[in-house]
């Protein structure tokens, strides 16, 4: 059944139609990828879904509730989390603090219990810490142990990408939006990332919609592929169907005149 429904979504910047009449669905526990050449509007779709920019018309519904007009943090509270294409970590905070900070939306400590350090607060803090360690543990030994207290800016690029995913996981989402999770990675790291996306669904139960350029990742793990070009959906189906579609090939490679 559909977790996310996007219906006739439109967004234009001035005269430029960035998203044009876009409709698609994502079902529970599916892995869907969004592909298209640069400038096709993929990141804009993610920005619309997470409330960073408002749509001009159309509807987006998550679990039956509409997302239009909601603040980003309200959307996150409903169960959608994302990572950013250009990495937006809290660089001067430690690794574990980055993840713990994201647990805000499902915690409840009020000012008074924080100031007085009530037993309820202590319990919740311990819970947040345990949650953060569990999410970081998803990536093996890399982000564990002495790494917890290191500042985020000291991490390597691949580790930063992993941290950003761990941080998104800490918001306790149902749907994960990953924006180019394998960008800038070498073949071995790309393979790892592909397997990781699969594990996120199989072991942690997330539904995943991700934007990617690397066809190894797209073909390696997607249940379904949606292709965009100039803001419009030009193909939808399995990896084989979409990548052999004429319009998709033309969008990426151009047409033989």
């Amino acid at each position: 059944m559909s977790l996310l429904v996007v219906e006739k979504l439109n967004k234009h910047f001035g005269g430029l139609n960035v998203v044009l009449n876009l409709s698609f669905e994502v079902n529970d526990r599916e892995i869907v990828s969004l592909i298209g050449p640069n400038g096709a509007g993929k990141t804009t779709v993610l920005n619309l879904l997470t409330g960073i920019i408002p749509p001009d018309s159309g509807d987006m519904r998550f679990d039956g509730k509409t997302l239009v007009g909601l603040d980003p943090h309200a959307i996150t509270r409903l169960g959608i989390a994302r990572t950013f294409q250009t990495l937006r970590l809290f660089l001067n905070m430690s690794v574990i603090e980055n993840v713990m900070a994201a647990a805000y939306s499902h915690t409840h400590a009020g000012l008074l219990s924080i100031i007085l350090r009530t037993p309820g607060w202590r319990r919740e803090e311990a819970g947040i810490r345990a949650l953060a360690e569990e999410k970081l543990g998803f990536f093996g030994e890399r982000l564990l142990g002495y790494r917890f207290d290191q500042p985020a800016y000291s991490l390597s690029y691949a580790n930063r990408r992993r941290l950003e995913i761990a941080r998104a996981m800490a918001t306790d989402p149902k749907l994960l939006l990953l924006d180019e999770p394998a960008a800038g990675m070498n073949p071995r790291e790309t393979l790892e990332m592909t397997e990781l996306i699969g594990q996120l669904r199989d072991q942690a139960g997330y539904t995943i919609l991700f934007v990617e350029h690397d066809m190894n990742v797209v073909g390696g793990i997607s249940d379904r592929v949606i292709a965009l070009d100039y803001g419009e959906k030009i193909a939808e189906g399995t990896f084989e169907e979409v990548t052999t579609n004429e319009r998709v090939v033309e969008a990426y490679l151009g047409r033989k005149h």
Binding site: H73, T76, L91, N92, Y104, I114, R117, Y146, Y153, R167
Partner: protein, 510 residues
Amino acid sequence: MSTERTSELRPAEPSHEAGLRIGTDEWVAQAEARRRRRSGALGKLADRWAALPPIARIGLFALLLLAAPVVTAARPVLDLLGISNNGFIVRIGATFLASSILAVGLNVVVGYAGLLDLGYVAFYGLAGYAYAYLSSDFINGGVHLPSILSVPLIIAFTALMGWFLGSLSIRLYGDYLAIVTLGFGQLFVQLASTLTRVKVFWLDKTVDLTRGPNGINNLDNVVLFGYSFRSTLQYYYLFFVMLAVVLVVVHHMNQSRIGRAWRAMREDDLAADVMGMPTRRLKLIAFAIGAAIAALAGTVLAAWQGSVTPGRYDLLALIDLYAMVVLGGIGSLAGVVLGAFVFTILPELLRSVELASYLFYLGGLLGLIWWLKPSRRLVVLLAGAFAGGLVFKLLIHWFLPGLDSGAVPSGGSFLNQAVQSWLVIPEKFKAVGNVAIGAAVLMLLVTILLKPPLRWLTLGLTLYLFAFAWETRLATEPSVTRVLITGVTLIVLMIFRPEGLLGEPRVSVG
């Protein structure tokens, strides 16, 4: 005492620290800690200090602050410092403690939430005037609300005003927020100075709301459970307790989900919102809490000073507070208190010739230690400079006996007198002193630009010239010198540690 390490290249072997192998991830991660471990006597002391649990370090400072008024009242200490009574020390101590509270409040807004609020001083002033309304003869023959009621009321009211100001500027970031809040701050001062003839239409008369630039006087003392705070010493301890409470509260907030959310907002506002943190509401909370802390300090300060005037809450006061926060390290609680300490106590202590001299020589010594590290070289240099001065004096006595006139430029403590007897001080020491100031600075530049060993010679000469300039000219005019030294100290500190004394260097792109 040596820190010279001969580095020998040796093939990698298992490090004995915690059984780590050299080159592994964890070994590399701990490299920073290894490098920071200092050697030598002073180094070992520094390590012992760093190893103390924070609570012990805080306890030590708290003890020092508690004991200060008592210790400085003792005869031997007064004699050592060359002052007659410790009233002025207690007064600047109380000012330091109160300023710390204000600075901590500002730190919450600027340091934790990253909001450049240039109108912060207005909350401080608002609370002061509110206290004046509620605890004096100003309104209609006199409203004298007991402080146990008025102070919490004013804190709540000011917190609400903080929330209100925040919500007006909620969409603004960075410089724009700064300008709007600056406007509010200036607005407050203007209103306080000029709302003296407000026309009340339905009563057909004009009302003086603020008594203008002269302000409102004769404010009640703070009275808690029957105990009336009258003397500066009593306010000193009251501010101490207030500061301790505020520090604990802010520390608790900082280590909670709110503190993490504030820091996340400061790092990347949009990412924080997308990660589920309601940034708008969190900003308002920061504004409100900062305002509440300012109000707490503001009411008690007004009571202590006995009056409120608009001039006390102007731009200069704001700059002072920001200097404390920036100097101490934005975002660091201990740093902010340290910044307040340096900024309030330093200029005050420098008013007295004796104390200023102690600070001058101590500062110079610390500077040398920081530059050269405690080492044989430092000891040789100091001994050499001392010996050189003596030799110079002997030579002068032999060849130009009249030159060393034995004139005594400044009274001062035994330290001044000791240094003066070491120096050669001619009759017209004022004129020579003027030249010596310029020569000393010049020699310092030369010393920095030269390479050793020539550098050590000129350094010795520089030390002599600075001592001479100090004793003959600078020490005798403390009112000018204190401003000079405070300014130079701040500039030097910010050049060498732009992140503040206890701040962490921040990475913006990484």
